[in-house]
């Protein structure tokens, strides 16, 4: 039973991280129908920024809580700036171009960012400090759940709630929903669609950065390639849940997290990635619009 619980919570943690990334995919897709392949790179850049900030701050001798907060904030701001800029230089000029051109632009952006970090930093794995402290009350359950896992799940839940609030109740959220349904009409009602798209990229990048910091701290090492596989997995999760749907992205991420976790725990850990992609193929065959996605006729 303990083993089951451990796998369950491990899957929940994985799913939470996927969800943080998948949100960016699904929000951007919802609004401009683009699979932003550079999104995984944003997550990687978030982790790198946090590492740099944390190293500097540790060197400066700050206490742990201050380091976590400042490093996370730095990652959020820096990644959001990347997301904003990528949209402006790689996607906005192609707003009225065929969708395939924008997709290729996105893939190019992804490769560019990977290689840029590879050159600017290193191709080696870098150790990432354990930012999340030990919680005293978790000690008796340490064989089931690690503090960082608990922290990841709680943070993700809080972010989901904030995001739901943003989209359901704020003015910019209403504008986002309107622009997602009909951009021209939204513009004719006085909504600055370019601003809405920028905000979407900023919010999506910020959540991906948080995911990057959390996973780096959880696993303890990062490298320039980490965004690729995580990005693809989150993409699978977004498609599984129904791309364009925010609850779908979360649901898809959790399902993917649990399946991976149970598969590796009970069957084999060698085929973890293969299994995730087999899953994608099966979804695309049997339910191309995803679990919560709208059917396209």
């Amino acid at each position: 039973m303990d083993y089951f619980l451990e796998l369950f919570l491990g899957g929940l943690t994985r799913g939470s991280i996927y969800a943080l990334i998948a949100l960016g995919y699904t929000m951007v897709y919802g609004i401009i129908q683009l699979i932003n392949f550079a999104h995984g790179e944003i997550y990687m850049i978030g982790a790198f920024t946090a590492l740099i900030a944390a190293s500097v701050l540790t060197f400066a001798g700050l206490n742990q809580l201050a380091i976590i907060v400042i490093a996370a904030l730095a990652a959020i701001i820096y990644s959001a700036a990347y997301g904003y800029t990528i949209e402006k230089i790689a996607y906005k000029p192609l707003r009225n171009a065929p969708r395939l051109s924008v997709l290729i632009s996105a893939i190019g952006m992804s490769l560019f960012l990977q290689n840029y970090v590879l050159l600017a930093q290193t191709s080696n794995f870098l150790p990432f400090p354990e930012l999340i402290p030990e919680f005293e009350f978790l000690k008796p359950y340490s064989h089931i759940i690690r503090p960082s896992e608990l922290f990841i799940c709680i943070t993700t839940a809080v972010i989901m709630l904030l995001l739901t609030f943003l989209i359901k109740f704020t003015k910019i959220g209403k504008a986002m929903r309107a622009a997602a349904q009909d951009k021209t009409m939204a513009m004719l009602l006085g909504i600055d669609v370019n601003l809405v798209i920028s905000v979407t990229f900023i919010v999506g990048s910020a959540t991906a950065a948080i995911g990057g910091v959390l996973i780096a701290s959880h696993i303890g090492q990062i490298n320039f390639y980490m965004g690729f596989i995580a990005g693809i997995k989150a993409f699978v999760a977004a498609v599984l849940g129904g791309i364009g749907s925010i609850p779908g992205a979360v649901l898809g991420s959790l399902i993917l997290g649990w399946t991976e976790s149970f598969f590796t725990g009970y069957i084999s850990s060698d085929y973890e990635d293969a299994f995730a992609f087999l899953f994608l193929v099966l979804i695309l065959i049997f339910r191309p619009s995803g679990i919560l996605g709208k059917k396209e006729y």
């Binding site: 609030f165 943003l166 109740f169 704020t170 003015k171 910019i172 209403k174 504008a175 929903r177 309107a178 349904q181 009909d182 021209t184 009409m185 939204a186 513009m187 004719l188 009602l189 006085g190 909504i191 600055d192 669609v193």
Partner: protein, 265 residues
């Protein structure tokens, strides 16, 4: 309320090309304050293209679109649609373009977007100003829905409304932006005679009570003749006639190009 002679929109020599096709050819049109103007013509004559030009969806090839508000003239060629809406144009479409997954009230509230200020921070902190603004937006939107006669379905999804109500909701949403000129693209399309008569009433009321000028594209000649004070007739992108309903009815050019053999229009 009779139209005054003050012009609020002057379009001069407007030309729009799509590749080699001249969709609008040197078109002139003026609208006076509180006037109901109709733009008619056969299918494909360039009426909707004209709407798209003056609302900023298309950038015209040449010509001037000048709005005149409070004695200030401003050329709006190629200005982005959301900014033109801010300046006071609102429009509806031939085919219904509501936000189907939102409620009736939310659809109208979206129309208030450009007239409200509240920020994300305000929405999270729930400070007094943003709560008050939210309340004002809801009240304003509700009042519009009441005027339009949709107050009993505020919380329904727009998709679930009957067809005639969806058409009226589009007008309500356009009114929420507080326009001085309302552009209606075939508002009576697909309506039965009863609904059309109600629509005519509604359009007249919008002009009389709100003092909003109206430019409409319409194929229902009965509605056009009943409502409009001035009619422009366009064919192949060119203006072929302009005048009061009485003048248009007997204009030989119009009969030839548009009404054909129909004499009872």
């Amino acid at each position: 309320m009779k139209p005054s002679k003050e012009k609020i929109l002057e379009v001069k020599k407007l030309t729009m090309d799509f590749g080699g096709l001249r969709a609008i050819d040197s078109f002139d049109l003026d609208i006076c304050d509180k006037e109901i103007v109709a733009l008619i013509g056969p299918n494909g004559a360039g009426k909707t293209t004209f709407f798209n030009c003056i609302t900023g969806i298309y950038k015209p090839a040449s010509g001037d679109i000048v709005i005149n508000k409070n004695g200030k003239k401003e050329r709006i060629n190629g200005v982005r649609p959301n900014l033109i809406t801010e300046k006071g144009f609102a429009r509806t479409f031939q085919n219904i373009r509501l936000f189907g997954n939102m409620t009736v009230l939310e659809n109208v509230m979206i129309g208030r977007h450009c007239r409200s200020k509240s920020s994300v921070a305000g929405a999270i902190l729930r400070n007094k100003a943003s709560i008050q603004e939210e309340k004002d937006i809801v009240n304003f939107s509700y009042n519009i829905l009441k005027k339009i006669g949709l107050q009993n379905s505020v919380n329904e999804l727009a998709n679930n409304l009957p067809y005639g109500d969806q058409r009226r909701l589009e007008i309500a949403r356009a009114l929420a932006t507080e326009p001085f000129l309302l552009l209606l693209d075939e508002p009576a399309a697909g309506m039965n005679p009863n609904e059309t008569a109600e629509l005519a009433d509604l359009i007249k009321r919008i002009r009389d009570e709100e003092g909003i000028s109206i430019l409409l594209i319409e194929h229902d000649m009965k509605l056009v003749m009943k409502l409009s004070e001035l009619i422009f007739v366009v064919d192949y992108g060119k203006k072929i006639a302009q005048g009061t309903p009485e003048e248009i009815k007997v204009n030989p050019n119009v009969i030839k190009a548009y009404l054909g053999e129909e004499t009872n229009a």
